[in-house]
């Protein structure tokens, strides 16, 4: 990859700035953005409230009137970014975790698996093997707490979103659309194709690390039986 350089810094109001690196989804840029965000976050600047990596850039949310800001906060935020870039980003392996997610792909939890398999011209078992056999990477967290957009889906399983979203998708549902997969953290409405369900809590505010996923994580899905699912759901 060419040297990572921001092509724009756009104010997100007067308390945040969006530093953009790409206006299209570029996986290398995405990964670099995540490492950069971790690095900026690691500086623990007292006036910075949040560092949020997205698909092609990151937002820095700040308190513009904090006593430790000298001059204007937006320039200070951009300075922090350029200093990190100058210093060089950490190696991928120093930051990426691998998260293993148990998934029950049985019919009870996978209302769209048969249709997805038919569209992809494979058997449901083959569809499961394709999903569970791939390594995914969290491209961004958004939409709801812990809701991770993961890239790495086999092109063979690339199916569009459902024409009509379901009003309620059960929490823990594992779903696919286009080239991505998601795990629904809460029972919310959604239009992705549901092919399984995990017994894990995707977001638990009482847990030390509330979110199961972080941007940049590697993710693998491991098939489990219905009995195992029920056991793990406690």
């Amino acid at each position: 990859m060419a040297k990572l350089a921001p092509h724009g810094a756009v104010p997100l109001g007067d308390c945040a700035v969006n530093v953009e690196f790409s206006k299209t989804l570029d996986l290398e840029v995405n990964y670099a953005v995540q490492r950069l965000a971790a690095m900026v976050h690691g500086r623990a600047l007292p006036w910075v409230r949040d560092v949020v990596p997205a698909l092609g850039g990151l937002a820095i949310h700040f308190d513009p009137d904090h006593a430790d800001v000298h001059g204007d906060a937006m320039s200070a935020a951009l300075n922090a970014v350029s200093e990190c870039l100058k210093q060089g980003l950490p190696k991928i392996d120093q930051v990426a975790r691998t998260v293993e997610v148990p998934v029950c792909y049985e019919a009870e939890f996978a209302p769209d698996l048969t249709e997805v398999a038919a569209t992809a011209k494979v058997t449901p078992d083959e569809a499961v093997a394709l999903h569970a056999g791939s390594e995914f990477r969290v491209l961004m967290i958004g939409f709801a707490p812990g809701h991770a957009y993961m890239g790495g889906l086999s092109p063979k399983l690339a199916v569009p979103r459902r024409a009509a979203p379901r009003p309620i998708v059960p929490a823990g549902s594992v779903a696919i659309a286009n080239d991505q997969t998601v795990v629904y953290p809460y029972a919310i409405s959604g239009g992705w194709n549901i092919i399984g369900r995990t017994p894990l809590a995707v977001f638990d505010a009482e847990r030390e690390e509330p979110s199961l996923f972080a941007a940049g994580d590697r993710v693998r899905f491991k098939p489990i039986s219905r009995a195992e699912f029920l056991k793990q759901s406690k």
Binding site: V10, P11, L12, G13, D14, C15, A16, N18, E20, S22, K23, T24, L25, A37, H41, R49, D50, V51, V52, P53, A54, L55, G56, G57, L58, A59, H61, P64, D65, D72, M74, M140, I141, G142, F143, A144, P145, G146, H147, Y149, Y186, I188, F203, A205, E206, P210, S211, F213, A214, A215
Partner: protein, 326 residues
């Protein structure tokens, strides 16, 4: 010591100043929709600005106080049997009835010592979509019992004792609720959003010329603004990017949405504008059916508005401290 909910009103939740530092995992800061009024309510009962209070929306509750409690209701002009915007000592066993907001949309009822629900991720704020914080992560309902600080009765009496100019159960003065509108439409100052230039000159003009009406499906996540549909000239897909409190998004149906306290942290809709942070609490005081319009501004102006709001708040806080003999 507790408060019992006899009638919950329209939408009452426990809120404080929110939880920062979790937006990277998709959790917005949340907290009071109008943090200025919350800060004032807390100051009036001698609390720190971030103590947890009741956020009351449009139609207020009936509450029963089990012990003597020093309270203050600040924000929207609610019809109520307690005087607004000042400290009030309510006696053990008494009922407080808060009905319709004649002006404004949100009131903050603070109690000496704060509402003592447990902290979740560093805050007592109710986050309704995630069902955590506040009381069981939900909107308050009839027969709920809200815990107060153990020493709340003692705190209430001591603090009321400190006040200089008081009558039997309240004082002769009040604070100005300066986020509540005198008249509508209110002016919201807005900085051009990242995708402002994607809208043609005519649409840009429409955005700034229209008096927008807050629609009934507006909530703590976002305010939908009814008016002419805004069409973006460009049709290419926008890569999902970060959003902020006060971002104004325009989805495909052309109805702008202003992101409020419980907003999503990222979004794929074009952002036409970003509301100046000083004006967001004023927007929070607009009830459904209320009207707003936008005035284009730059970052300098936004900073000036912020300083102005902060100075006015500091002046009032100093006045309250003086009344407490500090």
């Amino acid at each position: 010591m507790t408060i019992r909910v006899l009638r919950p009103g329209l939408l009452m939740t426990v809120q404080d100043l929110g939880r920062h530092g979790h937006q990277h995992v998709g959790l917005c800061p949340g907290g009071a929709m109008d943090p200025i009024s919350l800060t004032l309510a807390n100051a009036l009962v001698g609390n720190e600005p971030g103590a947890a209070a009741l956020e009351i929306t449009v139609l207020g509750p009936d509450l029963e106080f089990t012990r003597d409690t020093l309270i203050a209701l600040v924000g929207a002009e609610f019809e109520s049997d307690i005087p607004l915007n000042r400290p009030v000592l309510v006696a053990a066993g008494s009922h407080v009835s808060i009905s319709r907001a004649a002006r404004g949309a949100r009131g903050y009822l603070a109690c000496a010592g704060g509402i003592a629900v447990p902290e979740v991720l560093g805050s007592r704020s109710t986050y309704i979509p995630g069902a955590f914080g506040g009381l069981e992560g939900r909107v308050l309902k009839r027969a709920d019992v809200l815990p107060l600080a153990e020493n709340a009765e003692q705190l209430s009496r001591e603090r009321y004792e400190q006040l200089k100019n008081k009558r039997a159960t309240s004082v002769r003065w009040s604070v100005p609720p300066f986020t509540v509108p005198d008249r509508e439409p209110i002016v919201l100052h807005a900085i051009d959003g990242e995708h402002f230039a994607d809208f043609d000159a005519n649409m840009q003009r429409v955005f700034y010329d229209t008096v927008w009406r807050v629609t009934p499906d507006s909530n703590r996540m976002g305010y939908r603004l009814g008016g002419p549909a805004l069409a973006r000239a460009k049709t290419d897909e926008i890569l999902s990017g970060p959003t902020a409190l006060g971002s104004v998004q325009v989805p495909a149906n052309g109805v702008p949405i202003a992101l409020m306290a419980d907003h999503q942290t990222t979004g794929g809709y074009p952002r036409i504008a970003e509301i100046a942070s000083a004006d967001v609490p004023r927007l929070a005081q607009i009830a459904p059916g209320g009207t707003v319009h936008f005035a284009r501004c730059g970052l300098d102006m936004a900073a000036e508005l912020r300083n102005d709001m902060r100075n006015r708040l500091q002046t009032v806080l100093r006045g309250i401290a003086w009344e407490y003999g500090k």
